[in-house]
């Protein structure tokens, strides 16, 4: 059988087809690397969860808990907003401002330690009304992982950071349920408690990290939640509105593909000589590219509109209450995407090159920009890298509009970045397009 000549011909053809070669080898490696970094157990660079902490209690127990949470490596605890030029030392969060901050997306979770919590921090037999007020965990439902993580870490931190409190609470409950201690038992316990106080004082002065002292309350209770935590979603939205996230995430990725494909018409026109003929008329290269930019922007905006209308009609997205925000974000996203497509087309010489380059770049951008999985799952470095993608800014903007119900004025960072990106990308594309201008 003459199989070898067929293999040989295919091999030679593949070797000459550089775009296919790139797609065959670079794309899988790029994707594997991205997924490996996100999900591959790179613990040293795992994402930290931002938590806003409001201590209304200011008791010894609440202070101990706050300090322990701040030492927790998996958390980034903040007690006040970041300083601004006009306000070098902004006031600490209150319950109300913390809730607003979660709603605005500054952090996925806020922990409120209510007044009186320190009197009775253990939630043992809370049904009988014997425990104090529960900790309040305010969360943004768009991040389903952060509240679970924080709730779990709270139990662990309480167990390890407040041994004295736990022991006192434990003895109190023991005395209540077994009918008191003998004097000898009481003396022994007092002695042990004194040692524990001494140890805690030493640890506080040494400002050491997590205590490894065994808890007097026993570890088996941790899973059940010795610390009462009340989880309270603050967005007050139905889950249908999370559809907007997926509409934006998937939409932007396909917009990028459409824009690069549409811009590819430039390459066809260059190959057929049509660009030469057009440029011999009154049309200049700048007006030619600007025309393509406007067309691709309108095309992308129409695509987004159809997608969100579909989400409204089938998935009950509240589209018509968010028209201004949608129009602003939609147009800015479409403009940036259109300029990006023009840049890709101007970089390439053939449709095949454009196909390979756009597939490579758009899939990588979409994966690190949050179109494939939420960015809060990613390590901090990758989250920062995501900020160099159109996807991330567009998704953030649409989330602000549809999920957080923020006004159009709150979109200025996303609008600013997308417009700036559009201008820069267009100018670079215009510069590169000079090769079509004259020989």
């Amino acid at each position: 059988m003459l199989i070898f000549p067929i293999v040989r011909t295919a091999l030679v053809a593949l070797r000459r087809d550089r775009p296919s070669l790139a797609l065959s080898f670079i794309l899988p490696i790029a994707f594997f690397s991205i997924f490996a970094v996100i999900f591959g157990g790179r613990h040293d660079s795992q994402s930290k969860i931002s938590v806003i902490l409001v201590d209304q209690d200011r008791s010894q127990a609440s202070i101990q808990l706050s300090q322990a949470l701040q030492r927790e490596e998996a958390l980034t605890v903040t007690t006040h907003p970041s300083s601004k030029p006009k306000q070098a030392h902004p006031p600490d969060y209150t319950a109300a401002t913390a809730e607003d901050a979660v709603k605005a997306g500054d952090a996925p979770v806020a922990l409120i330690i209510p007044r009186g919590w320190g009197v009775n921090p253990i939630a043992f037999n809370s049904a009988a009304g014997q425990s104090g007020p529960a900790l309040q965990l305010l969360n943004d439902q768009s991040d389903t992982i952060a509240p679970q993580m924080v709730a779990g870490l709270l139990q662990k931190t309480a167990m390890t950071a407040m041994p004295l409190t736990m022991a006192e609470q434990g003895m109190k409950y023991a005395a209540q349920y077994i009918g008191g201690f003998t004097p000898a038992q009481r003396a022994l316990m007092d002695s042990n408690m004194a040692r524990l106080r001494q140890l805690e004082a030493q640890q506080a002065s040494a400002a050491s990290s997590n205590s490894t002292n065994p808890s007097a309350a026993g570890s088996s209770a941790a899973a059940g939640g010795l610390i009462a935590v009340q989880l309270r979603p603050v967005m007050g939205k139905n889950t249908h509105d999370m559809i907007s996230f997926y509409a934006a995430a998937i939409g932007v990725m396909f917009l990028l593909f459409t824009a690069s494909g549409s811009s590819g018409a430039l390459l066809d026109e260059a190959e057929s000589g049509t660009i030469d003929r057009v440029l011999s008329s009154r049309i200049t290269m700048t007006s030619l590219l600007a025309g393509k930019l406007v067309f691709n922007t309108l095309l992308a905006f129409t695509q987004l509109t159809v997608m969100f209308l579909w989400a409204w009609s089938v998935f009950h997205l509240d589209f018509f209450s968010h028209i201004p925000g949608f129009v602003v974000m939609g147009l800015c996203t479409a403009l940036a995407v259109a300029a990006f497509g023009l840049l890709l087309a101007s970089l390439c010489h053939t449709r095949a090159q454009l196909g390979a380059l756009s597939t490579l770049i758009i899939l990588v951008m979409s994966s690190i920009g949050g179109s494939m999985f939420p960015r809060f799952l990613m390590p901090p470095a990758m989250q920062k890298a995501g900020l160099f993608t159109i996807n991330a800014w567009a998704i953030d903007g649409f989330t602000k509009v549809f999920w957080r119900d923020l006004p159009v004025s709150a979109l200025w960072p996303q609008v600013g970045v997308l417009l700036a990106a559009a201008i820069v990308l267009f100018l670079v594309a215009r510069r590169i397009a000079r090769r079509w201008e004259y020989a």
Binding site: S272, G273, D276, R277, V278, S280, S281, R282, Y438, A439
Partner: protein, 321 residues
Amino acid sequence: MSSSPAHAQAAPLSFNSLPLQVTTLVKRFGQVTAVDGISLEQRVGECLGLLGPNGAGKSTLIRAIAGRVIPDSGQVAVFGAPAGSPAARAALGWVPQELAIYPRLSATENLRSFGRYYGLSGKPLEKAVDWCLHWAALEDRAGELARNLSGGMRRRLNMAAGLIHQPRLVLMDEPTVGVDPQSRNRIFEMIEALRASGTTIIYTTHYMEEAERLCDRIAIVDHGRIIALDTKEALVHASFGSRSQVFARFDGAPAALVAWVAQRSGRLVDATAEFTIEHPAEIAVLLDSASAAGLQLVDLSLRRPNLESVFLNLTGRELRD
């Protein structure tokens, strides 16, 4: 084109100037000199042919006139305006060698698009589109997508798109490439109609018959230079005077044929012996000489030299090498 719509241009042009003035134009691409010091002038209403083999530099010269190539040195002026300037662009219509039309647009939509690119709109645009469709005999296929038209029709549409703004100077870069003889004749008729209307035309081709049929003057281009420029008759006369050409094929030993042709100061091209003679009576002398050399005549023809002969005479090569 007297019935054509108003000329679409706003920029000032000097219509007292010649339609085209090219002065010592040089264009190099890397090590290759595509245009090597060409100078030429064109009169109003003249059809000037650029005749030369592929790679002679004709298209580069045309693109320089269209303002699409920046010369390394020299100048091009269209009605006195520099090539590529808005005024020159408006006065000039370019029919590129490639099918530079939008395949997914219909014939009418293509013409409208290019008309708008030249600033036409409204009734003048529609009038220009109608004129172009009529000129290109595409009225029956006006609504057909360009990609569905036949090769010849696409060529005609390609030409019409270059004339939508009724330019005063038209550059046609090998408009009959890849066209069957019937369509070619149709294209010739279009160009002749254009000539009759007084439009100034530059026509590049490597087909001698086209240049002879369509052009008032012919520039023979080779290796980026114009090696001769005149009317067909003047070019032939300059090369051959009043002499005619004799073409003869013989049976006999090839070596004997080569030796005999050389002895008689002739030329052997593809086994055909070529001679230039002043009087027909010289033919008998030639044939006697061939017979004496052991060659038997197969066929013989006598003809007046043409542009092909001129090119061969000037360059030593055939036009379609």
